[in-house]
Symmetry: C2
Subunit: 684 residues, 2 copies
Amino acid sequence: MLQKQLIVVFVCRTLFVNRSLGLLLLFRPQSFRLCAGKQAVRWLRMASAEHIQALNDAANRMRISAIEMTCASNSGHPTSSCSAAEIMATLFFDEMHYDKDDPKNASADRFVLSKGHACPILYAAWEEAGHLTHEQVLSLRKITSDLEGHPTPRLDFIDVATGSLGQGLSCAAGMAYVGKYIDKSGYIRVVETTALSTESTAGFQASYRVYCLLGDGESAEGSVWEAAGFSSYYKLDNLVAIVDVNRLGQSQQTMLGHDTAAYAKRFEAFGFNAVVVDGNDVSQLLGAFRNARETKGKPTAIIAKTLKGKGIENIEDKDNWHGKPVPIETIRAIEACIKDKAGKGKLPIKKPINDAPAVDLRVGSIKIEPPSYKKGEKVATRAAYGTALAKLGDACPRIIGLDGDTKNSTYSEKLLKKHPEQFIECFIAEQNLVGVAIGAACRARTIPFTSTFAAFFMRATDHLRMGAVSFANIKCAGSHVGVSIGEDGPSQMALEDLAVFRAIPSSTVFYPSDGVATERATELAANIPGIVFIRTGRPANPIIYDNNEHFEVGKGKVVRESASDKILLIGAGVTLFECLKAADTLAGEGVHACVIDPFTIKPLDKELIIKHAKRVGGRVLTVEDHYPAGGIGEAVCRSVADEPGVRVRSLCVTGVPRSGPPDGLLDMFGISAKKIVAAVHEFH
Amino acid sequence: MLQKQLIVVFVCRTLFVNRSLGLLLLFRPQSFRLCAGKQAVRWLRMASAEHIQALNDAANRMRISAIEMTCASNSGHPTSSCSAAEIMATLFFDEMHYDKDDPKNASADRFVLSKGHACPILYAAWEEAGHLTHEQVLSLRKITSDLEGHPTPRLDFIDVATGSLGQGLSCAAGMAYVGKYIDKSGYIRVVETTALSTESTAGFQASYRVYCLLGDGESAEGSVWEAAGFSSYYKLDNLVAIVDVNRLGQSQQTMLGHDTAAYAKRFEAFGFNAVVVDGNDVSQLLGAFRNARETKGKPTAIIAKTLKGKGIENIEDKDNWHGKPVPIETIRAIEACIKDKAGKGKLPIKKPINDAPAVDLRVGSIKIEPPSYKKGEKVATRAAYGTALAKLGDACPRIIGLDGDTKNSTYSEKLLKKHPEQFIECFIAEQNLVGVAIGAACRARTIPFTSTFAAFFMRATDHLRMGAVSFANIKCAGSHVGVSIGEDGPSQMALEDLAVFRAIPSSTVFYPSDGVATERATELAANIPGIVFIRTGRPANPIIYDNNEHFEVGKGKVVRESASDKILLIGAGVTLFECLKAADTLAGEGVHACVIDPFTIKPLDKELIIKHAKRVGGRVLTVEDHYPAGGIGEAVCRSVADEPGVRVRSLCVTGVPRSGPPDGLLDMFGISAKKIVAAVHEFH
């Protein structure tokens, strides 16, 4: 059964092999790389003057290419690129293991350019490696080119889109977490999420490492420190953050300028091993990367003091050169620094160590055990989500749950209890929660299900926006929506979450109304690509669907209808039940109402709505526990906007709500059965 | 002229008075308080055993009250309240200066409860102070009570709503910034935003201080560290953060548990003076607050090690007691600890030192110099925003600008250049940018105009959501919207900002299309309450309005019409000009189009749209540089949803865009004049 459902294929199945490899890594982690044939020879040569010169030559060729491509596009960030030339050359031509012909190789080291605007130097690195041609890089920022102004995964060597600053480290941390705890050469060990010991995590990880290049300016973003706290808590010693401290922001000097000690102090305080170097000095960088590799039990931050526009005559370290092409003539002086004029493409690249298990999560046919409720039984949809998530955990070991210290409210703890190795506690840091999930999903290593109160997903709106640009495959279950949460008050009530998640391009938005629908929504979420939102509620509502009811994305359900219907009511979650109560009352008055449960708000079942709207004579009343903008009402208005005979009115929460009992609030904010009945009376 | 426009009234106008006060504060800051009559006597008594016992008694009475009110409401957070009882007693009955009968007093110390769920202990403090009755606090969480489950400014002693964790310190920093640099007893000094020296800021500030109580769990939120970096950069020594390290989160132990040294290290690394104390020990707290007062040039963080549920038998320091009422019998043991059974209300409260200037910004009639453009002249709306902001700075010294290192792109630098003392550079940290603005606007001390790329305001969605719960009066100008920014690519393109800002309750959303409209939108923004969004664009477009054109909130403009119009086109910003171009082409074919510029998207000029929709025969085509959900299209669909004869189709950006030239992208993503013409041809 499991075998059939499982789409995870482990390459290294024999426990003996795994353990041998594990022990080797445990006792002499570096020796593995040192003994790996040709690798060892190159390792010894690393510090030679010849090697350093070759790396400097590569850095300068990359600088020139970055200047040329931004001149060709007449826009872009050559100065932010040039500060990082030596960092990138050292990373790509000495430190990192990757396959230039297979950038997505599961065992290859990962690289995240958090300072995405510096992508010309990244494109130049892939040109130097031989993956891109010079002609290709000169297509920078053209509408026909995938070499965009900021990196996106339209390029095969990009895992996550960057360009909204401060997000890269969370994604890198997600990748490193997967590398350390999930990609463990084919077998799974239980990880204690509350009290990790170095012992419990050492030795058995996949050998790939994760590198993230940050700008200094973006370190003012709090999300960087959310990621830092997470990375040290989980002892991600396979993660290296490099901060390109080039001192200058877009509009003025950064907060800390060239105070590299201050950066080091901050990273150390957040649990990192911090190393300060001259980031334009290859030999210092080589030493720093070696230090990082030798540091166990904590991630490393390399604080690299650089000059913005390094190497560009009359522009280096000068203000007012952010995001502007520089004169093309400036490449002459840089060319003069290159010793081996014919050196391009000659630097060898370290091959990946093929020890990450093969995983195929690209197409999904993951099935869960069917729901088992009794009709009428009261179940909160958040509880049903937890039940379904735990079942998904049974079905696929690569489905993971992530939560922000709300797992006992969102019920994601049901997965934790059953499959602790498939759960990541992310604490109260929702940007990082989403960022880690985006990283964990990269190269289709896992399918992450994140959860918190829906209101707190709003904290990660920009990360979700960027997640869409990354074509990320992550699932978000937001609980405690609307005024129906009751006494906790407006700070905890999600009332704009549908607007936000609907706005995310290519998202799918589920709003299941009972336990059966919720379990099926969760199952469907695992089987469709992209960013999926599942809106769950706090109060328990009766089960209305049979356990074997079939649900589809974009297909609504008519939950009440008669031949004499005179109005169509559309509600979801708590308001579906208010619609049903209102329909009962109205039926007593001889006014019959059709009631539709849309199941997905995006895509919306336009055909079903139009069909029944026309059938009942054109009157549609939507009812939602959400603010007016961007919710069910507007989605329905749009769906019928081209139908001349259909009229829509909407009940929703207008104005900031307050604390109170759920039923009292539903009525006070105009979405109770009573208010629905009144609205129907007025709707002629 | 200025006098008439100015609604800022300075109480202390005489420079002599101000300078005397300033010098006194400069040389012996503490002596001022020591010499202030009765204050001095109390100060000397502070460390006495009697005083400490009185504070402990107060803490225990507050504990009991917190337990009683959460028992009465059968929900809430007594354990999170009890850990902080001594902190609150010490703050309210020894440290802070305030007027219990006038909580909004401009000169009073500010208190922000960032860990908003612990509000029972805050309500208990105001009960102990005599501002609330015991009957009132027992109404906690009832629908008829303003004592909500998390604090909101419906209560007169609350400045900002809290409950979404990690936001309080930014608000407190905004208040402290205003206290230090703007509320300077009636006169303004130029502050160098790029290189602050201690000298330039010492001595002349208003004497009120700002206190912010944080939870330990919420310190995982990056926004806390954004606020911390900001506060130390601006040397906010009038700010004290107290971290209630009670070890336990909602669902498990926090990342750092009781490791107070780690918290201290983090705050020190972020430039704070950090003091570690036993947070349930009043005498240690008294010393820490004294240390904070004596620390100059940096803010102080008091790391208070506490026990969750402190004092509650069998529950203290135990897991699984978050957000649950405790047995009412537990108050007996706490009662037994109270020495002076009749002590309630006897502790004296320090009065505010009345040295903050009186400011009245409640009603606005701020006028700017009229726009001065030539019709047809090309001006980017972002540039016009900067021009208007600088004019607002002329008109009112309490209008301030805040930016996130994009001031040379949003053009807020025009205000900085003219009025540097009215500008706060907030660096790349948009959550803090908005949080500081919310704090700065409190008690109507300033009208903050924040700006960054509209896409990066998405980073602050949750802060904006909470801003609405705070009834905050802040203005957000978001530039670089849509695919029309061109080559920078999707990470920089705001395409969901209308959905987000429209969803904020009681927000106003301007989308001005030319320079004249933008200047008027900016002027209007200063004169209406609440959260205002101004959507500005990157490319320059022609001026179409007369300089004396009159604009109003909720009133659109018909920019093209004829008696033979057969369709209504609605566009804004760049798409208004595409609509006009399309109308030209269509007119050549004999198809006449009416074109409307809505000016505000929220509120939308429903009457104007319906009137012209009906006039042209019912066909409406909306065109927007925005994703489908929550934008102009859906706003228009909703506005005509109850009109049976009106049909709406919408052109907008579907799918993730890419880098390219603006015109090419407008066409590729379906919102160019050409695509409008085609859509009109198909719309029968």
